[in-house]
């Protein structure tokens, strides 16, 4: 493997469980596992089995490649609001919100989670491929007295699935955040995830990551799962992948993320790209992100052409539905459930239909 790749704290731990490591956003990351020994009794391994294990029991994902940072200082929430359309001032301590960094034309620089730990203390989690861009962008916009402190020495684990709640044994509500102890290890935990299942994202000092992962695996319901299953799970859940479904050329309106714009922010539009985004909200966006169900069993992958309508941005096979699913952008007139589309897959026209998302119902702890 490429020597210039960065390693995550649990690199050796994953390999011990039979991980297949691949380059992703500059890191060697587990994409799937060929389980051995005890873990093989719990799960066959591979994207399909890891995916189904997450839906049925619980899966442990290592997402330590993602960017974590603290934004600290009086007025931190107000400072961040200058960069995002979300209501950060109104976020209560102990709560987390999904929001977007937008650019001047209404495009999306990144999507991120913002947790309010205290009035002047925000915890941010951003995409691995965007963390350098994001951190520079945020730091450049901060007034004196507010600092962005990246946390490269912390790991991030996600325990996802219906069995997660009894393992973490926390009363956190969905999108709640707290510092709690899990198996005696102090962690910063949010009840959230990227699979559509109930679950937790757990930030922990890199030095404690292995002990935490080992203790979580002591529960027979848990197996490690790789980025392959994470991708198919989030696609079933209808969640965007930065770089595929959203980027600097797609707006929150086009992406179906209008709900991330705070109510107060819709009266002031005082965030980057606010006027462009307002115009799309008032007059309609030229294209919209929709769920797409191809006929038959052939998956339509990312970049597949939707004839005279747009492009697939994420596509694959749904293990839960045992059928291909996709999402993509289509002309506004076609963005209606039941609309007939034609996909060009390997030079052949493949019929498909616009369908509502998520493809698999969310099971968050509400």
């Amino acid at each position: 493997m490429d020597q210039s790749l960065k390693t995550i704290p649990l690199d050796a731990w994953h390999r011990k469980f039979g991980a297949r490591m691949v380059p992703f956003a500059g890191y060697a990351m587990p994409v799937q596992y060929d389980f051995t020994d005890a873990m093989a009794d719990r799960c066959r391994g591979g994207v399909l089995a890891e995916h189904l294990h997450c839906r049925g029991q619980a899966a442990l994902f290592d997402v330590s490649h993602m960017g974590q940072a603290m934004l600290v200082g009086p007025g931190a929430a107000a400072a961040l609001e200058r960069l995002v359309p979300g209501d950060i001032l109104g976020l209560k301590p102990g709560r987390q919100r999904y929001t977007l960094l937008t650019n001047g034309t209404g495009g999306i620089i990144d999507d991120l989670m913002v947790a309010k730990l205290a009035e002047d203390r925000l915890f941010l989690v951003v995409n691995a491929s965007r963390k350098d861009v994001d951190f520079a962008h945020i730091a450049a916009a901060l007034p004196a007295g507010i600092v962005l402190r990246p946390l490269p020495d912390r790991a991030l684990l996600a325990l996802q699935g219906p069995a997660a709640a009894e393992i973490v044994a926390s009363a956190l509500p969905f999108m709640g955040v707290a510092e709690i102890e899990i198996s005696g290890i102090r962690c910063l935990v949010s009840r959230s995830g990227y699979t559509g299942e109930d679950g937790f994202e757990i930030s922990v000092p890199a030095d404690d990551a292995e002990a935490l992962a080992d203790r979580l695996l002591q529960h027979a319901a848990v197996v490690p799962a790789g980025l392959g299953a994470r991708d198919s799970l989030r696609l079933e859940a209808g969640l965007c992948l930065y770089g595929n479904d959203i980027d600097e050329t797609t707006t929150p309106i086009e992406a179906g993320l209008t709900w991330t714009i705070g109510k107060r922010r819709k009266t002031t539009w005082d965030f980057p790209g606010g006027s462009a985004i307002r115009d799309q909200l008032d007059n309609g966006a030229p294209r919209l992100r929709v769920g797409i169900k191809p006929d038959g069993r052939a998956p339509a992958r990312s970049s597949t052409e939707i004839v005279d309508a747009g492009t697939i941005t994420s596509g694959g096979f749904s293990p839960t539905l045992n059928a291909p699913i996709a999402m993509g952008y289509v002309r506004r007139e076609l963005a209606e459930d039941g609309a007939a589309l034609t996909l060009m897959v390997r030079g052949k026209a493949l019929p498909a239909t616009v369908v509502p998302m998520p493809f698999v119902p969310h099971r968050y702890a509400r």
Partner: protein, 128 residues
């Protein structure tokens, strides 16, 4: 397969070929199915299609990606394995047996001998 491994040849695209008279059975190797991961969809060539050597004529889709399957030798498609279309997981569980893709009536049976034997294929895998 009833055949001994020595009757089987391999390609650099990770197909195996078993010869019986002038009929060649073609599938993907165990190494290939391992690399692909869970196979979820297979597209086979039409019957009676004439294919040249190294022509893409089938597709295997795993959860991760789509891959072309090439005709290892020139010939005519005389049989296709519909079973793997109905149950693609067979390609993972028995790639070099029940998971075969198609059978070709070869134009030139002698060309079979020019493909890699098991030992050469194993050596080739070492270089990857």
């Amino acid at each position: 397969m009833a055949k001994k491994k020595s009757d089987i040849r391999y390609t650099k695209d990770h197909e195996w070929v078993a010869l019986d008279g002038d009929i060649a059975t073609v599938g993907i190797t165990d190494h290939a199915q391992e690399q692909l991961g869970d196979v979820v969809h297979v597209e086979l060539p039409d019957m009676d299609r004439t294919v040249s050597a190294n022509e893409a004529c089938a597709v295997v889709e795993s959860v991760k990606a789509a891959s072309d399957i090439y005709a290892p030798l020139a010939g005519i498609v005389v049989e296709i394995n519909e079973t793997i279309v109905e149950d693609p997981a067979i390609v993972n569980s028995d790639a070099e047996g029940e998971g075969w893709f198609f059978r070709l009536e070869l134009d030139d049976v002698a060309a079979f001998e020019e493909l890699m034997d098991e030992e050469a294929y194993e050596e080739y895998l070492e270089t990857l």
